[in-house]
Symmetry: C2
Subunit: 188 residues, 2 copies
């Protein structure tokens, strides 16, 4: 059974996603949890802590994914496929929290914001290095690596919204379709 704290975080993720962090107030959150607003403070210290933890939980997930892939002995293209696979899995499992990565981090205070963006940048850098390797080995064409990085990450970052509308698709097939789309493109 889930701790009250986790229940609060889950509801917060749901509401922050649907309405945005700033537009969600503690009374709404409390009602969703089934409690009065003041009672929330027996389990959390303040509103921003919720956003902070939700975002950081996800950021650490991706940091782990990246460092696992980096320290593996896979080929560059396989590394890329593994990153995509992880991303799809996380999106399916933590749809609400993942959705916050897109825009809600701007509401973090300076310190946690900096920390969050550092992790985000590290992830992007790791991704870029792997893409670069894929080009060097000749597996990928000599496309602008920043464009490739941007297009790939965009697709992955929007995945949660797509998944919300197509929950039926099974994750494995989804992952394969996306990988194929990104790697071989649209043209026959």
């Amino acid at each position: 059974m889930k701790s009250k704290r986790q229940q609060i975080k889950d509801q917060a993720a749901y509401l922050f996603r649907k309405q945005g962090y700033k537009a969600t107030n503690m009374r709404q959150l409390a009602e969703a949890v089934g409690v009065k607003a003041a009672s929330l403070y027996n389990h959390i210290s303040n509103k921003e802590e919720l956003l902070q933890e939700l975002l950081m939980d996800m950021a650490h997930l991706f940091t782990k994914s990246m460092s696992d892939v980096q320290s593996s002995s896979l080929q560059p293209v396989q590394k890329l496929e593994r990153l995509i696979s992880d991303y799809v899995r996380y999106t399916v499992e933590y749809t609400d929290a993942i959705s916050l990565l897109t825009g809600e981090w701007v509401h973090l205070a300076d310190n946690p914001k900096t920390e969050f963006l550092k992790l985000r940048d590290n992830y992007e850098d790791g991704f870029r290095q792997i893409l670069t390797k894929c080009i060097q080995t000749g597996d990928f064409k000599k496309i602008d690596v920043d464009i490739a990085l941007f297009s790939t990450l965009s697709t992955l970052r929007w995945l949660y919204s797509w998944y919300s509308k197509h929950k039926t698709t099974n994750p494995l097939e989804l992952e394969q379709q996306i990988t194929q789309m990104l790697i071989t493109g649209l043209r026959k």
Copy 2:
């Protein structure tokens, strides 16, 4: 010279993008315009009107782009290329306002929200029809059309954030790189 109303809208777009609609207050907006908060109401009727107009201006831009392409006699693949080209142009010209399309529409009241989403859905439908045509003609492989649509639109919708970091790239080259990335993929 720009009207005061337009100046207010421009600053609103900038602040809404940077901080979010809910996190931006009328006193901040007023200061950015160089005026006291109450004076804004000589030019606008309320805060939400600003968000509404910013979003609707963009939505109508895309609606126009789509209907122009649809009524043209271009080949399906050329139609797609034209849509991408328009999207890049708009992104470069209206970066701030375009960025609001991503997440800030949730703060619209029910009525304008419905209207906005209708236009958005129409655009997506038009896009899907063109992609379907590209597959039927044999120009594109038989990929899941919803995946192709989703991946393409994701890349376009995130473009504003990429452009903000790479303002140096000229739009035409950007458009060509993105088109190539989407259509021929990464693999050599």
